[in-house]
């Protein structure tokens, strides 16, 4: 007898009837309400996660554009974005190291230059990078690399078209004062502001030196950008350079110099915890919304579940079905939220000048959180189904 029952049980255990799916789409209004509820919680998490990434990306916007194999900075620099230069004579030492193709100095100032904004005619602090327009480009950003030849004329600058609007760099401005000297705007590049700088200028080393009343050759160097001959081993060249240079200098790879800034931001920036807290709240609210949705759904279908139990379906089958339906509901909320978020990122990113972008990582993390909250809610709610007694329901 029992042996005869077993195969037939097995036969209907793998569900040919997609119960979870049918339940999901049975009531379109309810599905709409459920997915809207979950979608908002997902949107909240995505927006918070996106802001956290965006702040990070903004603080790295300049350093990730550096174009070279190795970089030499002062060893006492705690982050890329602060002035702490070294003596220019070290450039010659670097050029003598075998395997080195080019050594290009990058000069920078974060606190020294005040740009008179055409918007309010007042001086505003801007970040300045100075390069040798004749040398190989040190920034891979379009607008700098392809326009740096224009900087050969003295007192010309390239300006950041994504600078904050009160600086008036995006408009039709052709010249303005910089620390009292008139400079001509000869081109634009899209970089964007970070925590410290509202806008950025790029000029030639000769123009930069004039502001400090010195010559380009005597200017202290912020970063030496080194390109190796093709086929050179980066790690070996890094060791050779470090050996040739005094201990007061540090030779870094691209990923190490990006890491230096990232590390600083991660340890000292207070923005990250705020957004993590926001994400957590989104998760809790999402769990709550999911629980209410799933609970209501289960209560409404309790007679049906009880009937299924009555005709011999086991708890395992019903739980699996409830969980599957929870996951489907989660996805139904996730997809519209993900799409809506693309628009939010675009609009807020453009207004706040923050690099907000949907990435695979963000998609996976938020999807994981969404499914997690739906499953968690379903697991709490499913007790009702387990407790459902066919004899009592009717």
């Amino acid at each position: 007898m029992l042996a005869a029952l077993a195969p037939s049980r097995l036969q209907f255990a793998p569900s040919r009837v997609p119960l979870a799916w049918r339940n999901l789409v049975a009531d379109k209004r309810r599905l709409l309400r459920a997915s809207a509820g979950i979608a908002f919680a997902v949107l909240l998490m995505l927006v918070q996660l996106g802001f956290e990434r965006g702040f990070f990306a903004a603080s790295l916007n300049a350093v990730v554009m550096l174009d070279g194999d190795l970089f030499v900075i002062n060893a006492s620099k705690y982050r890329f974005g602060t002035r702490n230069p070294f003596a220019p004579r070290e450039l010659e030492t670097m050029r003598t190291v075998s395997g080195v193709a080019t050594v290009t100095p990058l000069y920078a100032a974060w606190m020294d230059f005040f740009w008179t904004s055409p918007v309010d005619d007042r001086p505003h602090l801007v970040r300045v990078f100075a390069i040798d327009p004749e040398a190989v480009p040190v920034f891979s950003l379009p607008g700098i690399a392809d326009q740096q030849a224009l900087l050969k004329t003295d007192d010309t600058v390239l300006v950041d078209s994504r600078a904050r609007s009160f600086l008036g760099m995006d408009g039709s401005v052709t010249e303005t004062k910089l620390n009292g000297t008139t400079v001509k705007i000869v081109g634009r590049f899209p970089l964007g502001p970070d925590f410290m700088s509202d806008g950025t200028l790029v000029m030639s080393a000769r123009t930069f030196a004039k502001f400090y009343r010195t010559t380009p050759a005597a200017l202290p160097v912020e970063t030496a950008v080194i390109r190796l001959k093709s086929g050179e081993d980066v790690a070996a060249a890094q060791r050779r350079l470090a050996g040739a240079l005094p201990a007061s200098l540090r030779v870094m790879t691209k990923s190490e110099i990006v890491e230096l800034e990232r590390d600083f931001q991660a340890k000292l920036s207070s923005a990250a915890p705020i957004f993590w807290l926001g994400t957590l709240v989104g998760f809790i609210v999402g769990t709550l919304i999911s629980y209410q949705i799933i609970y209501t759904e289960l209560m409404d279908r309790l007679p049906q579940y009880a009937t299924l139990k009555g005709i011999g379906y086991g708890n395992g089958y019903l739980i699996a079905s409830v969980l599957r339906q929870a996951l489907l509901t989660g996805i139904a909320g996730y997809v519209p939220a993900w799409l809506l978020c693309l628009a939010v990122y675009k609009i807020v990113g453009n207004i706040a000048l923050l690099p907000l972008a949907m990435t695979l990582q963000l998609t996976l993390v938020s999807l994981g959180l969404t499914l997690g909250m739906c499953l968690f809610a379903a697991l709490i709610a499913v007790r009702r189904v387990i407790a459902a007694d066919p004899a009592e329901v009717f």
Partner: protein, 398 residues
């Protein structure tokens, strides 16, 4: 019609008894809520979290402008004299010292004292990283800071090459022990003590110095100055003094009273930086999510009681009467959740305050605004969830 069978319908015309349907509706709403305590508690928790979410986002939204005011809030002045190029506290530009000397001569001005700001590199004499630190130079005798720790240690400030350090200066600066020697822009100074104020948005670390020490480190002179703190003599009319100062001083300076300064700094942080937009959008999203939670909760409650509501309809209750029941139910839920949420928000704010020293506080206006938003949202979601009720057909339910 059935309306004369029970309650609502016929009493509406009965002048003077307008309050009765309300009381009946309130009693019914209350009964529904206490009937299933578990369900109601769950709904309450949901609404509580939604309101707490709004409070937290609001807190972040206001924390930044308030953080920008931290140092000013702890300085003694009635009027602040700054350059016309003044941006915000950490970028104040500068103006001639002579403006302060002139200001001091105006009748009603008790004191006009300069404050000097500079950035410097902080490095341990043994080497290591050169960290950016914010320097404030002032005359301790003028008592510009209303901070006990600073006033108590004013004679320490007077010692040559001795500094006070804010105890919220980040740990990467190393131990802030008294007697430790550090290099500020290559000049060796000694830590004479710490004080408890908070670095606001001035930087990762803040150092206080007496003017003479400040000039030695920064190679600056008495002229120009960054800020001028003006104190009005007791009994003098502040507005009159301000008007006279504005008239007498040159057009390279401007004058803020406390309210104007707060407005200026807060406008800087909310509109010049992306802070306003980011936390503003967080606030908007949290309001929408709050609405969703409230609506879901109420819609669930109504869906569960649909047979009962349909019965009430069948025996003659009008939609309007049922709407009143649902609205009252949602208001009871919202307000019952609002009170603990406000208390929990205070606790969260206190935690943020002690961790960051940001002067984060809930003003009665903010509490009122959140309460208003909650009431509007709960009435709104009651209206939304009523559509199910309106469709409820007594003949179909059973």
């Amino acid at each position: 019609m059935a309306s004369h069978i029970i309650g609502f319908g016929d009493t509406v015309l009965d002048s003077g008894a307008m309050r009765r349907p309300l009381r009946v509706a309130a009693r019914l709403a209350w009964r529904i809520l206490v009937h299933e305590k578990g369900r109601s508690a769950l709904a309450l928790v949901g609404v509580f979290i939604a309101i707490l979410l709004v409070f937290i986002q609001l807190g972040f939204f206001i924390a930044v402008p308030q953080g920008g005011m931290l140092v000013y809030d702890n300085m003694r002045f009635d009027l602040l004299l700054v350059s016309t190029n003044y941006q915000f506290q950490a970028q104040p530009w500068q103006f001639p010292h002579a403006r302060l000397t002139d200001a001091a001569k105006v009748v009603g001005v008790a004191q006009a004292t300069p404050i000097y700001f500079a950035g410097a590199a902080w490095q341990d004499p043994s080497g290591g990283t050169r960290l950016d630190v914010f320097l404030i130079g002032f005359d301790p005798a003028a008592r510009p800071f209303a901070v006990d720790d600073i006033e108590r240690q004013s004679d320490i400030l007077g010692k040559t090459d001795t500094i006070l350090v804010d105890d919220m200066t980040r740990p990467i600066f190393g131990p802030l022990t008294v007697g430790r020697r550090v290099d500020l822009d290559d000049r060796r100074v000694t830590i004479g003590g710490t004080y408890h104020l908070g670095t606001g948005f001035l930087g990762l670390g803040v150092v206080l110095m007496d003017e003479a020490n400040f000039f030695r480190v920064t190679h600056r002179r008495q002229d120009p100055v960054n800020l001028g703190l003006i104190t009005v003599a007791p009994g003098a009319d502040k507005d009159k003094v301000a008007a006279e100062l504005r008239q007498k001083l040159g057009d390279d300076v401007q004058l803020f009273d406390r309210a104007e300064l707060t407005a200026h700094e807060s406008a800087y942080w909310t509109s010049r930086t992306s802070v306003g937009l980011i936390f503003g959008s967080g606030l908007v999203v949290s309001l929408i999510v709050g609405l969703m939670v409230l609506y879901q909760t109420l819609a669930t409650q109504i869906a569960r009681h649909l047979p009962e509501f349909a019965t009430l309809k069948a025996i003659g209750y009008r939609d309007a009467s049922l709407a009143m029941v649902v609205t009252i139910e949602s208001l009871i839920l919202a307000i019952a959740a609002f009170i603990p949420a406000a208390v929990a928000a205070m606790a969260v704010y206190a935690l943020i305050r002690s961790e960051t020293l940001l002067p984060l506080a809930l003003s009665p206006t903010n509490v009122g605004l959140v309460l208003a938003a909650v009431v509007i949202i709960s009435v709104g979601s009651a209206c939304l969830s009523l559509s199910a009720l309106r469709r409820a057909d007594p003949a179909e339910i059973f």
